[in-house]
Symmetry: C2
Amino acid sequence: MRSDLATWPLGMNEEVLMARAFLNRVAEPASIPVWDMVRRDGPVQAAEAIRAGRVDDCVSDATAARAAHADPLADLEAAHRHGIRLVVPESDEWPHFAFAALEATALRRLETYRSGQRRHAEGGELIPPLALWVRGTTDLASVGVRSVSIVGARAATPYGERVARELASGLAERGFLVVSGGAYGIDAAAHRGAFAVAQETVVVSAGGLDRAYPPGNTALFERAAESGLLISESPPGSAPQRRRFLTRNRVIAALGTGTVVVEAARRSGAMNTAHHCVGLGRPLMAVPGPVTSAMSVGCHALIAAESGAARLVSDVDDVLLMIGSAGDLPVDPQPPSPPDLRSRLDQLDQPARQVFDGFPARAWVHPDRLAVRTGLSPLAVIRALPILEMSGLIEAADGGYRIARATRPTTSTQAP
Amino acid sequence: MRSDLATWPLGMNEEVLMARAFLNRVAEPASIPVWDMVRRDGPVQAAEAIRAGRVDDCVSDATAARAAHADPLADLEAAHRHGIRLVVPESDEWPHFAFAALEATALRRLETYRSGQRRHAEGGELIPPLALWVRGTTDLASVGVRSVSIVGARAATPYGERVARELASGLAERGFLVVSGGAYGIDAAAHRGAFAVAQETVVVSAGGLDRAYPPGNTALFERAAESGLLISESPPGSAPQRRRFLTRNRVIAALGTGTVVVEAARRSGAMNTAHHCVGLGRPLMAVPGPVTSAMSVGCHALIAAESGAARLVSDVDDVLLMIGSAGDLPVDPQPPSPPDLRSRLDQLDQPARQVFDGFPARAWVHPDRLAVRTGLSPLAVIRALPILEMSGLIEAADGGYRIARATRPTTSTQAP
């Protein structure tokens, strides 16, 4: 593990990693009380309290069954043997940009939850992961910047598989990462399409990454691990239970700039992912098909919905029209030179400008603190941060943000 | 001809019929200056002026080429030999209800036209027909009350033809009239679907009704004439020119409570009909298909349009959801009994109520006069009239309207 730990940035330490591994093991994904506790107390203190049983009933209900038996070091070591690393929010590899919408939605849910309407809050699963198990060469932080989630039916038709393959190829050709699950049908077709023109593809699995599920897709998983990315919220050894497929779907929706449903039965996992996509405020797209095909019923329902939930897309150009503005952000922005700074600031919308003005000159600052300093809601702050980060005006690390070096006042002692 | 004339209602006379036949022969469909002149001066006076050349340049441009050679009596006699009758706005058989939206749109266009922006006004073809040639047993006035226009590509796929057939059957089963053109492909499939469960179907042709175009659909035309309706704006002997297909399409759109596009290439006649449907403010629907099919490109473009031009429909239930409220009006309303009158009035919206209040006790009144009496715009009056007519509160004939007998004050000398 030490070789991995050495790559963590300033402030990241083994204690945090162990705490996150513990939390990830004891709580099922998308537990709002556990996420809230970690957010308030930090992972180390939260993990200690859970292990000691010094927690409220809600957190206890979500963690007590496994707290005594959890062995995070064993999990990390088992992962290491399979080439799997644990990526945590305190790491530079955490996909802050992709998860900004998830954070914002979770903060909204939290208000409902805290106001005592717990039952309502529990129904929604749009709570950020506490950590992600990852295998592969792609930087997880780069996922969600220019990426499209392509989802659909396991029992896809040849038509659906062809469309998924062509969409994925076209998007990969234009430099977009393709994100999908690891199932047969549309998922596998999308990954194959991406492989056909690019090295990378991103597989989000519902079970532990030490084994492929379904086993028939083992070769696909191996290929993604070699030059793309395998992601799971579940520790190695976890079986892909039904509940985990549903919580997994929110990760797929969150990692895509937009989500395309290629084929879906009326009630299906793909419809669940589509629902999450809408919940995150991300563009949802659906591919039409013959009205005589049961596999297109879900897509048509999404397109025809009163609320206009999904936009009909026929090809890559349609998809790019929908996600263009979001997907065309630079992948690796250069820090702005001082004369450039003014023009970057001028391009910001009012809340983003306000958030930037709320930053201390050099110190790291937490979003909640920025909300206090600016008088904006935590939601508004969380929404503005990725914009500022992508503009190169601020940088994120260690769960906080600060003004990017090149942007700081010239009193900085930092060498250029 | 006399036997037909004997069926015209009070006030209808041979002079009007001859004038309309003349106007129909000399002007191509959808001529705004001719329609406007007929509207202002009445058909008899307008026809005399045109024949004598006492008209402005715009009307002259639209009529001079044929005015000298027109022989309306010959046209009416030729039609009679083929079992074709001429239906005019002064007749009880005129589809006032179906054409209300067309009248309203034309009045709007007229304002643009009169204000001198003639070029803009000429582009739009949503001008009511001056008369319609009709063959068949169905009452033309009943078309447009519970009817759906089904349109699509000539070069339809087997998938498209199947969907058109099934939609038409389903709608006919539920008592809706199917309206379409007379082409191969979707048009023919829709009529076949209607025939499969009902006697009636409505074919709107671009050429004269004395011959079927295309000839391969002769049997279909004959069957529609036997128990449905053949409609054309062109006199017998007219060739189905390209321009006539385009003006024909506005009649198809106007005669449907809503229009369904089943398959359409990006630039096609069906797209033109769809455009007219939107222009009339009627519900436009489109059937999706494989994105790999060129014949579904137009449908997908309509569904995906920024303005949400067309609603995606997969089956008859979807269509009924879209047109339900409009299509569920009674086909043949009974005149209300006096105690019933109050409740009918209470159900009217404000403009309709106002228009009803503007009626003289017993005299016939023209929409323009109602506008003056009520202070409402001609557009608002034209929109309210079909509602009042379908409620059985007023009746239409001879180009005017009056309070229905059963609704009139008890001072009426009419026997029950």
